[in-house]
């Protein structure tokens, strides 16, 4: 924990996506082919820059870099620890898939779309590499604001409304979060993330600690869509273009989770949270979110809306895992960040393929669609099974760890929540798969077997493959499990 290195690499990583941005500005309209190469190249280069940090991250070595600032509080600084590296790696992989997919999917307003995609990438990486709460807040707010153009990309009336709702949730949340950060700064030792508790019961007193904690949960909870704050999710996800929804659901919601992770491990620390006794409340909220959102999901006919509600439920798994405050629970929760990203990413990308190829968004119209899009729907099936938690998929691993975590925390009744949720997942995912493959007439007009373009198919299949890989080769170094183990090992 104490070993640190200084390197320019994190800055490079954060600014690498700007290559795509500049590429878009330079080539944008005149040379579409060159522009596309730059979009993919910039994202891939970012991934390549992140990878070299892997050995250090696995050892728990921290890379620090101070950027700018004016003393205590106001300081922009970067720091790569294992958790940050894990999240950045996930971001880069997801972004690469989404950008490749977008090449086939996005047809209008490309320059703006890729610019904001790149900006969001950069800011999300900034969140991952933040060395203190101030920097995290800066990048978080930027990311929050710059997601808006992605949501209203289509500029339809629905998208505008969704965008408005998104801002109506995000901006007050930003203000609330600012209050949290300044309060933490005022009452705590430091805003820096040191991998230990930086705010103390003996100095501050319980009421203020509770206030700061609730403010943080409100602020990050909007992005992490904890139940009363989830309102924007079911509107924004369906309104955004499919690759953007995949990113929204797969990683941008997780940025909120990442903030909560920082609050739990680097601000409060496990012991303090136990002493405060807030974890049970958070567990109850998470449990309610999981069950209620799943019930909401069942009643949706719009596929992307159903997926969005499912995301609300799934993200709360992570919250559940974190607040079990037991090692296995933490492993399960943190693993689910990546596992859910790939599963939900696959599902959203599949829904995009369906919309792109058939123009259908309602589940009731999707009978027999598996015959037209066998590979896509195959990936969809795999991801659905993952969501349910069938063994040999990524979903199973997290559910297993969460279950063990619940037992370790002596709260076995949360296993019931997991089981009910799995059941509900099965209820709302399997009928889609069933209808797609086994219902409907295979020779029905308009449904010839005709897969989508390679640009879209490859990311879909890759994401689907990850669901299996993460479920089978769990302990291979470099996959989430190895990194999460290091993170959890340093905390407990």
């Amino acid at each position: 924990m104490s070993r640190e290195a200084i390197s320019i690499l994190p800055i490079l990583v954060i600014f690498m996506p700007w290559v795509s941005l500049i590429g878009a500005a330079v080539f944008g309209k005149r040379k579409p082919a060159a522009a596309r190469a730059v979009y993919v190249g910039g994202t891939a280069a970012t991934l390549l820059l992140i990878v070299p940090m892997f050995p250090r991250a696995l050892e728990g070595l921290v890379i620090r870099k101070h950027l700018a600032g004016s003393g205590p509080g106001i300081s922009l600084a970067l720091r790569v620890d294992t958790m940050g590296f894990y999240f950045a790696l996930l971001l880069a992989v997801m972004w690469l898939l989404a950008v490749i997919y977008s090449l086939g999917y996005i047809h209008g307003r490309q320059t703006r779309y890729y610019c904001f995609l790149a900006l969001n990438f950069s800011f999300c990486l900034g969140v991952a590499f933040s060395a203190n709460m101030f920097t995290l807040f800066v990048f978080y707010e930027l990311m929050s604001l710059f997601t808006y153009p992605l949501i209203i990309h289509d500029e339809t009336e629905v998208a505008r409304k969704a965008g408005f709702k998104y801002l109506a949730y995000s901006i007050p949340a930003g203000a609330v979060l600012l209050a949290g950060v300044i309060l933490q700064f005022f009452y705590g030792d430091t805003l820096a993330f040191l991998g230990r508790s930086t705010i103390h019961l003996s100095q501050v007193g319980k009421p203020i600690l509770l206030v700061i904690f609730s403010i943080y949960m409100l602020g990050f909870g909007v992005k992490a869509c904890i139940m009363p704050l989830h309102g924007w999710v079911p509107d924004a996800h369906p309104a955004a273009p499919a690759p953007a929804s995949a990113l929204l659901s797969g990683v941008i919601l997780k940025v909120g989770i990442f903030g909560i992770v920082r609050v739990v491990y680097d601000v409060y620390g496990v012991e303090l949270l136990e002493a405060l006794g807030v974890s049970l409340w958070m567990l109850i909220v998470a449990g309610i979110t999981i069950i209620t959102a799943s019930l909401f999901a069942m009643s949706q006919d719009d596929l992307k809306r159903r997926l969005a509600y499912s995301s609300v439920a799934q993200v709360s798994y992570i919250v559940l895992g974190l607040f079990l405050l037991s090692p296995a629970g933490a492993v399960g929760g943190l693993l689910h960040i990546a596992h859910h990203a790939f599963m939900k990413g696959t599902l959203f990308l599949c829904s995009g393929v369906i919309m792109h190829e058939t123009g259908k968004r309602n589940i009731s119209e999707m009978e027999g669609i598996g015959k037209k899009l066998p590979l896509t729907m195959g990936a969809f099936t795999v991801a659905s099974l993952g969501m349910i938690g069938i063994p040999l998929t990524a979903g199973f691993i997290t559910k297993w760890e969460l279950g063990v975590g619940a037992l370790q925390a002596h709260r076995p009744y949360f296993i019931a929540v997991l089981l009910i949720s799995s059941l509900l997942n099965a209820v709302y995912f399997l009928p889609i798969v069933y209808a797609a493959f086994f219902k409907g007439d295979s020779k029905q007009a308009g449904f010839p077997r005709n897969e989508t373009s390679k640009k879209m198919l490859v990311p879909v299949l890759a994401a689907g493959a990850f669901v299996i890989i993460l479920g089978v080769f769990v302990t291979v170094p470099g996959l989430p499990y190895s990194l999460v183990k290091v993170v959890v090992g340093s905390v407990f």
């Binding site: 004016s70 003393g71 509080g73 922009l76 203000a175 209050a179 005022f186």
Partner: protein, 499 residues
């Protein structure tokens, strides 16, 4: 005595020199005047910036005019805050003159242009003099100059509405000037001095008989300067005057002139009276509290009115009331973080709001649009102006990593420091409201209207969008590199609180 010995006074005298030259040159060759004004502001700016490093917190630069030592003569006293004001005024001055070049050519008949630039140079003189003087009567003299010139500048186009707005401004401004003058006479009658530091020392051990007079003077000072600063109950002149004036003038008024009122409040409360005022700390504190409440109301009322506006410039004008509230609140929190934050917002708001008005001017110039709803899709046809607006709105809202955010952060810190949690809530609510009115415009600019490929780029002249864009970039620069200014503001404020 080295060459830079006279710099402090040159900051005031050089723009006055150019102001006097402008009409004469204007009679010879009209087109030269703008270059003359540009050169004059550039010289002033150079002089002001060259003082950086010579003024450090707790180490003021004092200059005795005519060689008469204070309190007999007039003293120029530049502290960190005055230095900040001087640098902001003179640097913004260059950009505003540059902007006026094209903009005012269209607004004014050619024979009046040279008088416009004369007025502009005079108002710079006045604001610069006001910021660095160490003498309250001298402060009043400069206040009169910038008041008179700003009435004239509001009405300079001669339109009926402009004249009415200017008249309203004049009535309130004159009342406020009378208040300040009355306060100065009160203060002189009990201290026998006009020099700020001398008064401050006298006030510290003022005979109990006179405390009431001194307090009344304080009340009149605050009232007078509050009108100039457009704090909430006495803000009524501002929206009309700022929205109807030509855009560079609006920018000047919003970014700089109302700051003079704030600076006056600050000078009186802290430099002249100060926490040690005749053991009347309780009275002094409660007056601070009252002003802070007025500021908090300004924040909310200004932002709420701004949301309701349909006219872009009117919206920006109301937003200025809100931001003046932030600055005054920060100053009156009696925490040095708050003071530093308030002054950082002077910088941030000067850049952000000037950029807003300049962009609004670009839209008016190119398209003739005033209403927010008309701005549909302008982000595509006027990308640089609109981009400047979007960037500046980050700072006006107070979103990171802009300068406005740094200011807000420090003000919030000040709120916590002095345990005024309610004010912290007001600051946060104010920025949410600011997000509503700023993002509404950004939304119309960028996310409505025709598609990119259907629009042609029709930018305003470069002399207009370049200043706006530079100011917007400035908000970002001073947001990221806050370390350039904030530490010295912090230590200067700390010295202020201890004294």
């Amino acid at each position: 005595m080295n060459a830079s010995f006279n710099h402090p006074v040159l900051i005031v005298v050089v723009p006055l020199l150019f102001a006097a030259l402008c009409p004469i040159i204007g009679l010879i060759r009209r087109s030269l005047v703008v270059w003359l004004a540009l050169f004059g502001t550039a010289c002033t700016s150079f002089l002001a910036l060259s003082l950086i490093g010579r003024v450090t917190p707790g180490n003021d630069l004092s200059y005795h005019l005519g060689g008469w030592e204070p309190p007999w003569g007039i003293e120029i006293r530049i502290d960190t805050f005055g230095l900040l004001m001087v640098c902001v005024i003179s640097t913004l001055g260059i950009l505003l003159v540059l902007y006026s070049w094209k903009y005012m050519e269209r607004e004014l008949p050619a024979n009046r242009l040279s008088y416009y630039y004369t007025l502009l140079m005079l108002i710079y003189t006045a604001m610069l003099g006001f910021s660095i003087t160490g003498d309250i009567f001298n402060m009043f003299v400069f206040m009169e100059i910038f008041a008179i010139t700003s009435y004239a500048l509001v009405a300079v186009t001669g339109e009926k509405r402009a004249l009415r707005a200017a008249f309203k401004y004049l009535l309130m401004g004159a009342t406020s000037s009378v208040c300040v003058l009355l306060a100065i006479t009160f203060l002189y009658s009990v201290t026998g001095s006009l020099n700020m530091l001398d008064i401050s020392n006298t006030l510290a051990e003022l005979s109990p008989d006179y405390i009431r007079v001194a307090l009344a003077a304080l009340v009149f000072f605050i009232t007078g300067f509050s009108v100039k600063a457009a704090l909430f109950p006495v803000h009524v002149w501002l929206p009309e005057a700022h929205s109807i004036a030509p855009s560079p003038v609006s920018a000047l008024l919003s970014a700089l002139v109302i700051k003079m009122g704030v600076f006056g409040i600050f000078r009186i409360l802290f430099t002249v009276y100060g926490p040690g005022f005749a053991n009347e700390t309780a009275n002094w504190k409660s007056l601070n509290e009252v002003v802070a409440w007025a500021a908090a109301l300004s924040i909310l009322a200004g932002a709420a009115f701004a949301i309701a506006q349909k006219d872009l410039k009117l919206m920006i004008a109301y937003s200025s009331i809100s931001h003046i509230g932030y600055i005054v609140l920060g100053i009156c929190l009696l925490s040095y973080h708050g003071t530093a934050g308030g002054f950082y917002n002077v910088l941030a708001h000067a850049m952000g709001k000037a950029s807003f008005f300049l962009v609004a001017g670009c839209f008016l110039y190119k398209k003739g649009f005033r209403r927010i709803e008309d701005l549909k899709g302008l982000g595509r046809s006027m990308p640089i102006s609109s981009g400047a607006f979007a960037l500046a709105s980050l700072s006006v809202i107070g979103l990171p990593p802009s300068a406005g955010f740094i200011a807000k952060w420090n003000i919030l810190w000040g709120c916590l420091d002095s345990r005024k949690y309610l004010f912290a809530g007001v600051v946060l609510l104010g920025s949410v409201l600011a997000a509503v009115y700023c993002l509404k415009v950004v939304y119309y600019l960028f996310f409505t209207g025709p598609r990119m490929r259907d629009t042609r780029i029709e930018e305003a002249p470069a002399a207009m969008y370049v200043p706006a864009a530079l100011l917007s970039l400035g908000t970002l620069f001073f947001g990221i590199f806050s370390g350039l200014i904030l530490p010295s503001l912090n230590s200067a404020s700390r010295i202020l609180m201890i004294r």
